[in-house]
């Protein structure tokens, strides 16, 4: 057979084998340096964001002019999953989601092509940009730019927010962007420096100029021109005609025109000064405004390495900053990743040490124990190579399920058998074996158990297969986990047929004592009477076992559950949500009050927040929402270092609620970001109403909301808040305009310039460039009354009137030729749409609901029925159903098919191995027996039944079957040798006590560090480890006692002749 040939070759060429193993080890070590390490798995979908800035556009205009064309253009892209969009003030964000597995660069290429096609249809002056190539885990490093107290600028003043922002934009950011792996540096906070030209409407009119003249003059007097070259006496002279303005004084000198031969300069009609932009977002920290930079990670890069490089680069940059300006790192992913690595490392090392200790204790042979334990690092390195190849990142989830106890099970069985045979052989010959004898014994020992060992490994692998079929978020979280376990198992299997026999052949040379050590003797002393008892009272034992299984099955259905585990990131994120229409300034005030309050908690180190949208709109938030990050001190600095985090979260929540005006959602930084990106409906049920008219949609949503509220089990039923943004509408009166001879555009132009301001070119300072903005002075645009009074210049009434104005003393009296805005337009404030969401090219509004004390499936059915019956929608409107229930349903459907299939596969493997249905079933009985222990352990520790625990049960099934196989195979062999059932069972059980105990102890002790761990990521590993430990303990006890009893009950009359071993 192939396996035997491999075994023989490995033992014969044992040194070559060592070399091969060394090679694999080195490859693994090298790959370790390439392995992307992250704290948590990335569950972001493949998406491309298209952000279009449209300064001044209201949500309605944004949707009509920008979102719609862009979104429509994305229709029909290959591998497109769906599109969604949101249109807000000044920003259109279209998110194109592709099917999982689509190459992101391919997707971006496609999107870019379509953007090019649609660009002509967009209004002039809007900027279309794609979001950075990053994921939900992309925000790896955040820092603030601050001035030390008392620091002075070169000019002697204090550093203003604009100064700090300028330093960030033009000194720090360009350098950080060059760090490999950083795709974007996003900035929020402070003010962008601008140069403001503030014309006085009265003076403009006095000179008979309009705003347009000012804009034109600015545009025409601010450019450099290259004029080729001339040759002169063999030399080449380049010609340039610089005309850029360099400072405020030069802007002031720009000539708008001349009146009566006198040049009229900008300064004659306007004041020019440095000003601030109309910002869409701001950053705060510990109750003060700040400038916050965020380095974003390119997809697929190693977050830890990049975050470190960013930190190093930042240190370097700080030295070149103006005196007194410092940067402060407020969030560094390295911390979390390091903590995660430490947890995994600690668990793995402690597990490995425990495994070695157990092996030594039971085998009594330290060399053999070390050989077995060597399989642990080797299969780990093998796994790392596999992870790099399959692009699985190392994180808590992917590494969390690796129990090296389970993985070395196969090797343990081989080593144990080899040792047993070697000892027997030595005793039989009465001398130390010669080399060829030893090799032959090892070959015999290995090949005797290699099949059950490999089958056992295969069975464990098979039970992991259902996990691979999960899709969506669950798939992204758990598939890597299953993959790494499978790779580790594969590695262990390869090593147990190659490395293990070879190493045993090399290492186990001297006398192999067959004498059992104290531990095994003690175990036997306890076990044998129990075994006799179990066999004697077999009916009762089986009955008790059945009862226990049933009881734990019932207990399992009463346990609390958890769908996706949440990973503790160590820090806390607080999203503060205020009513739509809250101004940025008001939001900031509330946010800063919140920060000051939270900062009083002794555990809190820093609290910083982003309010509104940053420069790169990776997260398009309105100014009414703040995303806050609470950074905690290291635990040892807490007044009570053992305080559970949930208590702290509660305290924070209570403290936050002392600040009125906001509601809060508490989560964690990565979680928050990932949720923003995935942005699906996060409640159990989401009812999406699609249609055109916002009012009808709103009405329908309210109807649906009321219907759903009436269904038993509904809770938290909410209709999406889409309106409530106060909008000041300047309704132009066309008749009035025509009387004055004004066009709509004339007035719009003035309103636009007056209130929002309009860019009229740039001012260059070296690399730095700042907008020159024409806008009305603050005193004329700030209040509603002043807006009504904005003067609209009238078209000149002809030369006669123009001349009349020149003669100051002439009659009839001169009157200024302008009208206030209020005489040509009505200025009204009314709530308008706050945000317009679309999905797949249609406006939509969502009603969300959660379900309590009722099963989700029937609730959804009821809801669908009720909505269909009671809600009447006009033609062109329809309803879609979504939410978590979709995932639940799809995952359930998948697993209800795949789990039984996997169990049947296990049975099939067992049948292949034993050639007997009865034997296969007997061994399979270990599975429910094992599960009882798992359930019990969870109950004892008060842990919910999560997917993590579920994966534990899966691992457990494999180990339980392995145990049973070892015993049943041996019993069958004994029976084949002619022993009676009774004797075979007795002898078999007692002889195989050692390997069974060993595999069980190794597998369960290997998980002990994980089960008691408290570090980062422990919450994911704890349920898994708890289940495995509890289950293995129960399954071992039950295998050792119940299986013999069952065997005697059922196999009395069967004939073991068809045993194929």
């Amino acid at each position: 057979m192939v396996i035997d040939a491999v075994l023989a070759f490995s033992i014969r060429q044992r040194w070559l084998m060592m070399l091969f193993v060394l090679g694999i080890g080195v490859l693994g070590a090298w790959n370790f340096t390439r392995l992307p390490i992250d704290a948590v798995p990335d569950i972001t979908n493949v998406q491309v964001q298209i952000n279009t800035r449209a300064p001044g556009y209201s949500p309605l205009e944004t949707e009509q002019r920008i979102t719609f064309p862009v979104e429509t253009a994305m229709g029909g892209l290959p591998k497109l999953d769906y599109t969604r969009s949101s249109s807000r003030y000044g920003l259109s964000q279209v998110t194109v989601v592709f099917l999982d597995g689509t190459d992101i660069y391919f997707a971006r290429q496609l999107v870019n092509e379509r953007i090019q096609r649609v660009r002509d249809q967009l209004p002039p002056g809007v900027e279309v940009a794609m979001g950075p190539v990053s994921t939900g885990l992309g925000e790896i490093f955040m820092y603030t730019v601050e001035a030390r107290t008392g620091a002075r600028t070169a000019g002697g003043g204090e550093f203003t927010p604009s100064d700090l922002r300028t330093i960030q934009d033009w000194i720090i950011k360009p350098q950080l962007r060059n760090v490999p792996g950083v795709i974007e540096v996003n900035t929020i906070g402070g003010y962008e420096r601008q140069f403001h030209v503030l014309p006085d409407p009265g003076r403009l009119m006095a000179y008979n100029f309009g705003f347009r003249d000012v804009m034109t003059a600015l545009a025409a007097n601010n450019a450099n021109v290259g004029a080729g070259y001339i040759e002169r006496n063999g030399e080449q002279y380049l010609v340039r005609a610089p005309g850029q303005v360099a400072n405020i004084a030069e802007i002031q000198e720009i000539v708008i025109g001349s009146r009566g031969g006198i040049p009229v300069r900008i300064r004659d009609v306007a004041s020019v000064k440095e000003g601030r932009d109309l910002r869409t977002g701001a950053a705060t920290m510990d109750g003060k405004e700040t400038v916050l930079g965020t380095a974003m990670l390119l997809i697929g890069e190693n977050s830890r390495a990049v975050a470190r490089q960013v930190a190093a680069k930042l240190d370097e940059i700080v030295r070149s900053l103006p005196e007194g300006v410092i940067t402060r790192t407020v969030y560094d992913r390295t911390v979390l990743v390091d903590a995660t690595i430490r947890t995994v490392q600690k668990n793995l090392i402690e597990g490995a040490l425990l495994v070695i200790a157990v092996l030594f204790l039971i085998l009594g042979n330290i060399r053999a124990a070390i050989v077995t334990a060597c399989v642990i690092p080797l299969s780990m390195l093998f796994t790392i190579t596999g992870m790099v190849e399959t692009k699985v990142s190392a994180n808590l989830m992917s590494l969390g399920a690796i129990d090296f106890g389970i993985i070395v099970d196969g090797a343990v069985i081989i080593v144990e058998n080899c040792l047993r045979l070697l000892a027997e052989e030595q005793r039989r010959k009465g001398r130390i074996l010669a080399l060829n004898e030893r090799l032959q014994t090892i070959l015999d020992g290995s090949s005797e158990v290699i099949k059950p060992s490999l089958f056992g490994t295969m069975i464990i692998a098979v039970v992991y297969l259902p996990v691979l079929t999960l899709t969506g978020i669950e798939g992204k979280m758990f598939t890597p986990m299953a993959l790494t376990v499978l790779m580790a198992l594969l590695g262990a299997a390869i090593f147990s047929v190659t490395f293990v026999p070879a190493a045993v052949a090399i290492v186990v040379t001297g006398k192999v004592s067959e004498k059992e050590n104290i531990f095994m003797r003690g175990a036997k002393q306890v076990y044998l009477p129990l075994l006799d008892g179990a066999i004697r009272y077999r009916h009762m034992v089986v009955a008790v076992a059945v009862v226990i299984v049933l009881a734990s099955g019932v207990a399992a259905t009463r346990m609390g559950g958890e769908f996706i585990p949440s990973l503790d990131e160590g820090d806390i994120a607080i999203a503060a949500i205020r009513i739509p229409g809250t101004s940025l300034t008001q939001s900031l005030d509330l946010q800063m009050a919140l920060e000051r309050r939270i900062k009083q908690l002794p555990e809190v180190k820093d609290f910083f927040a982003r309010t509104g949208t940053a420069e790169v709109a990776t997260d398009a938030m309105p100014p009414s929402i703040s995303d806050g990050y609470v950074m905690l001190k290291p635990r040892q600095e807490w007044p009570d270092p053992s305080k559970p985090k949930s208590d702290l979260v509660e305290e924070i929540e209570v403290a936050a609620n002392e600040i009125p005006g906001s509601s809060f959602e508490i989560s964690q930084p990565i979680q928050l970001r990932v949720n923003e990106l995935i942005s699906g409906v996060r409640s159990d049920l989401g009812i999406k109403i699609f249609g055109d008219d916002m009012d009808i949609l709103l009405g329908a949503a309210e109807q649906v909301r009321d219907v759903i509220r009436g269904i038993a089990g509904a809770s938290d039923v909410k209709a999406e808040q889409v309106s409530g943004l106060p909008i000041l509408t300047v309704k132009l009166d066309r008749q009035a305009l025509s009387r004055y001879g004004l066009s709509i555009a004339d007035v719009q132009n003035v309103v636009e310039i007056a209130i929002g301001g309009k860019s009229a070119g740039k001012l260059f300072e070296g690399d730095r460039r700042f907008d020159i903005v024409v806008r009305l002075p603050e005193s004329l645009r700030g209040r509603l009354e002043s807006i009504r009074a904005i003067s609209i210049p009238l078209p000149s009434a002809g030369i006669a009137a123009a001349e009349a104005t020149k003669v100051a003393w002439a009659t009839p009296p001169v009157q200024m030729r302008y009208v206030p805005l209020s005489s040509v337009a009505a200025v009204d404030v009314a709530p308008g749409p706050n945000q317009i969401s679309r999905e797949n090219g249609k406006r939509r509004i969502v009603v969300t609901a959660n379900v309590r004390e009722r099963d989700l499936g029937s609730f959804v059915a009821d809801a669908q029925h009720a909505v269909a019956e009671k809600v009447r929608l006009p033609p062109g409107y329809w309803i879609g159903w979504g939410g978590q229930f979709e995932q639940l349903v799809s995952a359930t459907q998948r697993l209800t098919i795949v789990v039984p299939v996997a169990l049947v596969l296990v049975l099939l493997l067992l049948f292949m191995s034993f050639g007997s249905v009865a034997d296969a079933l007997l061994v399979f009985s270990g599975v429910p027996l094992a599960l009882t222990g798992g359930v019990l352990a969870l109950l004892l520790r008060g842990l919910p039944l999560s997917i993590s625990a579920g994966v534990g049960f899966i691992a457990l099934s494999g180990v339980a079957v392995l145990n049973g196989m070892v015993i049943v195979a041996f019993i069958e062999r004994l029976r084949r040798e002619g022993k009676s059932v009774w004797d075979a069972v007795h002898q078999g059980a007692s002889t195989r006590l050692r390997p069974v105990l060993m595999t069980a102890l190794v597998a369960s002790l290997g998980f002990v560090p994980m089960a008691i761990a408290t570090g980062a990521g422990a919450e994911v590993q704890r349920p898994l480890a708890t289940v495995v430990i509890g289950g293995i303990v129960s399954s071992t006890i039950l295998t050792l006692l119940v299986l013999p009893a069952l065997y005697i009950l059922f196999r009395k009359d069967s004939d073991p002749e068809h045993y194929r071993f």
Binding site: E658, P660, K806, P928
Partner: protein, 329 residues
């Protein structure tokens, strides 16, 4: 025996299936982690604390401490004198009652000129001598009033016509400021109102009173003129320049007024957040009257002496509306 096998197998499969099914968290209705339990309990609490009475007025429980934490300030409604201003653009003109165009009585040749533009003249000062075409005698052109020569249309040796003023003499010690008053403001402008004129020369405002509001309007601009006569002894005001003017409206005392920062809009109603007993705050719909930059008259809805949220009142509105907002991404 076979039967027992089947029973045990069935039990095993059931248990596996049961646990497998539970792992998905589906059968058990009270599976907390399927939803964001935590958040929603909070939201419920938040929503729960806004109550509505039969008139539709919303109330909320919010303590003074909490208000202070958010920077909201309480004040009592009371009597206030409103003084508001209106801004107008205007132009300076020479006082037309003291502008005299000096026209030669007979056409002729200008023989000598004594005064130039800008010269100050007294009444009867000699401006120029003209040789009449009719009598060929030289006659004097004299200043009819004292003032300043603001225009001269003749030069030496030139033919001076009786059709055209040769000099314009104006007494600039008083100047007119003509303000253009928009239609909608006309009813608020009265003769005698105090006006502050800013000549935009960096100097102090000049105080004056409206002496005349034009009974006719201008076709072009749909405005009417309000005129202030200003004294100009130092020559600071120059006709032809534009000025801005602030009109101080007649002061008016109102019995109940609140600070401008107290007015909010809630559900399309104008409300003031009135502090009731204990920690209650009511969103009281009110009818507002006149206002100035700082105060707003309350015509109905509030009595004098009632405490209300005067500054940062948006916080209360936000508190009432919170829980409705969502993290909309």
């Amino acid at each position: 025996m076979k039967a027992l096998t089947i029973i045990i197998l069935a039990v095993a499969v059931l248990a596996v299936a049961g646990i497998g099914y539970r792992m998905l968290g589906l059968t058990d209705p009270d599976v907390p982690a399927l939803r964001e339990d935590h958040d929603h309990t909070i939201n419920e609490f938040k929503r729960g604390h806004v109550e509505e009475d039969e008139h539709g007025a919303k109330r909320i429980l919010i303590s003074d401490v909490k208000l202070a934490a958010a920077g909201a300030v309480l004040a009592e409604a009371g009597e206030v004198t409103l003084s508001d201003t209106l801004s107008f653009n205007g132009v300076l003109r020479a006082n037309q009652e003291t502008v005299v165009q000096v026209t030669p009585r007979f056409p002729g040749i200008v023989r000598s000129i004594r005064k130039r533009i800008g010269d100050t003249v007294a009444g009867n000062d000699l401006l120029a001598s003209i040789e009449s075409n009719q009598s060929l005698t030289v006659y004097d052109l004299k200043a009819p009033i004292s003032g300043t020569v603001i225009d001269r249309q003749i030069s030496l040796g030139e033919y001076a016509s009786e059709q055209k003023p040769a000099f314009v003499v104006a007494d600039l010690s008083t100047i007119w400021a003509d303000l253009s008053i928009y239609r909608q403001d006309l009813k608020r402008v009265r003769s005698g109102d105090e006006v502050l004129i800013d000549p935009d020369d960096g100097g102090a405002d000049i105080k004056g009173h409206i002496s005349y509001v034009a009974p006719i309007g201008s076709i072009d601009t749909q405005t009417a003129i309000a005129r202030i006569v200003l004294t100009n002894t130092d020559g600071r005001l120059r006709p032809g320049l534009f000025v801005t003017a602030r009109l101080v409206l007649t002061k008016r005392s109102v019995p109940v007024a609140v600070r401008a920062g107290a007015i909010q809009t809630l559900d399309n109603k104008t409300v003031v957040f009135v502090r009731e007993d204990k920690d209650k705050i009511e969103a009281r719909p009110v009818e507002v009257g006149e206002s100035d930059a700082r105060f707003v008259e309350i015509r109905a809805g509030m009595a004098a002496g009632e405490p209300y949220v005067a500054e940062n009142s948006f916080v209360v509105k936000a508190e009432m509306g919170k829980g409705e907002g969502e993290h909309g991404h």
